[in-house]
Amino acid sequence: MNRLTLFIPFALCLALGAFLFFSLGKDPLDLPSALVDEAFPEFALEELHEPERQLSTDDFDGQVLLVNVWATWCFACRVEHPWLNSLAKEGVVIVGLNYKDHRKLAQDWLQERGDPYQFSIFDPRGVLGIDLGVYGAPETYLVDAEGIIRHRRVGVVDERVWNEEFRDLYQQLVDEANAE
């Protein structure tokens, strides 16, 4: 056998490794960067508490706001919930996206833990979740006054994350919106 043919498996392995490495770069967690600086996807879904009320991006009303994806089955959502409550008290506008959940359970959950949301989009089948590319709950999107997503956080938003990733950007966006 030719000496070099013995290297074929090694070469194939290197090529495969390179592909896997680049697909790791394409990890679902990195996908969201594609949506950052894009408009928040259009949707038409019911409100969590008022089933007859249809929500769409118009309800964002030109405000700078956070969209928080959560569910009652999501363990980490319980962890971040107190911080969302205190953000809401500070006057930050937060919209809930109740993801793949049951209406009754979600209502009880908010009753029990406090409701930081201006309103809650009810998305039992994850339709909006797919458009957003939701990777798992919790997730938080910062949307500017033009309805453009400016930042995305996969995972818990607590005080530390808020200070590191959101606070300055949020303040800047609010200032821009007020200046106009």
Binding site: F10, G17, L24, D27, W73, F75, G136
Partner: protein
Amino acid sequence: MIAEYGHVALIIALCLSVAQAIVPMAGSFAGYRTWMRLGHSLALGQLVFVAISFACLTGAFLQDDFSLQYVANNSNTLLPTQFKISAVWGAHEGSLLLWALILAVWSAAVALFSGHLPLVLSSRVLSILGAISVGFGLFILLTSNPFARILPFSPTEGGDLNPLLQDFGLIVHPPMLYMGYVGFSVAFAFAVAALIGGQFDSAWARWARPWINSAWVFLTIGITLGSWWAYYELGWGGWWFWDPVENASLMPWLVGTALVHSISVTEKRGAFRSWTLLLAILAFSLSLLGTFLVRSGVLTSVHAFANDPERGIFILAFLGLVVGSSLLLFALRGPVVQRQQGDAEVVSYSGLSREMMLLLNNVLLVSAMAMILIGTLYPLIADVLELGKISVGPPYFNFFFVPMTLGLMVAMGFAVFSRWKKTDAQMLRQKGMVPFLISLGAALILPLFLAESMSWKAYSITAAITLGASFWVVTMSIEDLWQKLDRGSSKRGSRLKNLTKLPGSYWGMQVAHVGIAVCALGVGLSSVYDVQKDVRMVPGDRVEVAGYEFAFDSLDFVQGPNFGASRGQISAYKNDRLVAVLYPEKRKYEARNQVMTEAALDAGLTRDLYVSLGEPLKGDAWAIRLHVKPFVRCIWLGGLMIGLGGLLSVMDKRYRRRRQSGAKLSAQSAAAEAVTQ
């Protein structure tokens, strides 16, 4: 506290494995026998500490210690005890710990049962196993520690184990599968040790073979159990879905099967040496690749939670190190291994020899693996090359896999009959004629009867092909057996004497090959004659499906330990005679508020009745799915037979002999050869 003990035990195990990786290997080069022997004790010590760690995690589950993140995510106070135990390996962190435990078990087994091996070889094998376990130990401790606490706000109640996994299948399936996956690490270690030492001959093959075969047996049974579990637990009667997780287990199996065959050539004829080594490396690499694909999140859907890219990087780096370095070693040392070939005789064989048939087997199996690998990775590659997001579905896999399997089966019939070096074509034609005619007859006639009995379906070409191929394999196996018994004198009683003389590996081959035929029969016939009806039923209704009458008797509510369920009672009648009473359930698991369909089935060799509750409709009505699945049981029966075949082969006497003088050994193997031919 118990969790901290577990954590510490894991760290100690890691330290031991570092020593296990370094000391015996260094000793083998320096020629220090004490260093080499140390590998054996270190492997045993490592097993003890990994086992302690595993026991601690189990203890944490049994005590409902929800301050552990892993326990809080995967258990619940209401979870029945047996599932608390199986929940230990129900998710990422714990299943890795199980991986490590099983690796330690295999290493310890090598340490205990390698007394007849040269010390240099066994110490190197253990050292390589130690290196692998360093990788896994680090992976667990750095990225996936099951002992991580949630403090100070630990929850009072856990999130519960995924209901899909609350099942007997999950208790047994992953450990079996991992025994197979990890078992290939021993084959890998043997191969790498051979490459390092440059000693690779029939003796090596004889030592490595039982290890390879046993890993392959576990993998076979693990896959069979997984398929069986998917069938009854997922609630819609499928048994194989070509999803990445399944493919990840099938690929090492296919390569393992090729390896099991090629190493027999290496043992008996001294040929296929570098190929065997390559397959041994490949089988374990694919096991690791499977772990990477399943655990890194590159292939999971949007619905998966908490995947950590850091883990992906770690596994990829580990994979690259293990596979890359071993393949490089293969490329560099391969010629040394091959050169030994010339020492005794030039291995030659003609176009119609057993060697050639086994080569064909290997080519087919490895191509099948390659096509599954491409199908599984294609979405990733397309994504990297920006061709858009694409998913590859069952049509692709079936298109390639089915013809390849049929090709394999046709070749299998001939292969059983073929002889080393050269097979007499005339003899093959002569002896193959009867089996060929029987198979042809079965293919032409049996589908007529089946079509008749299976609710008047039309004559099916697929069924004919399946039957023909299966009968071909079985009849050729019988013909070969018959011929072996006939050999020698025509004295009475000599057949019986010949029967007892046949070695275990021969029986193993026969049973496994017939198992393939049985499995193929199940796959082919169940997909052709499967009848399924989705109906709306209220209690009191009767519906006819494929000759069976299903009566929806009643619907009750039952309370389980951690779920509430609507349970239907459905009686099945054939010709007005009660055949079975089935109790399908729709369960609602309280902790996660998840709804599960628990199908009910009445199993039989020739048919399964399979009933599942769909959604409740208006009033008392329910959507109900009724299935009659002919011969579906043969799929798993075949799988078990394949595993049994491997087991028989492992138990072949010639592998259990201790160190023997070379002359005696070769005389015996010559005798065994004479019987097998």
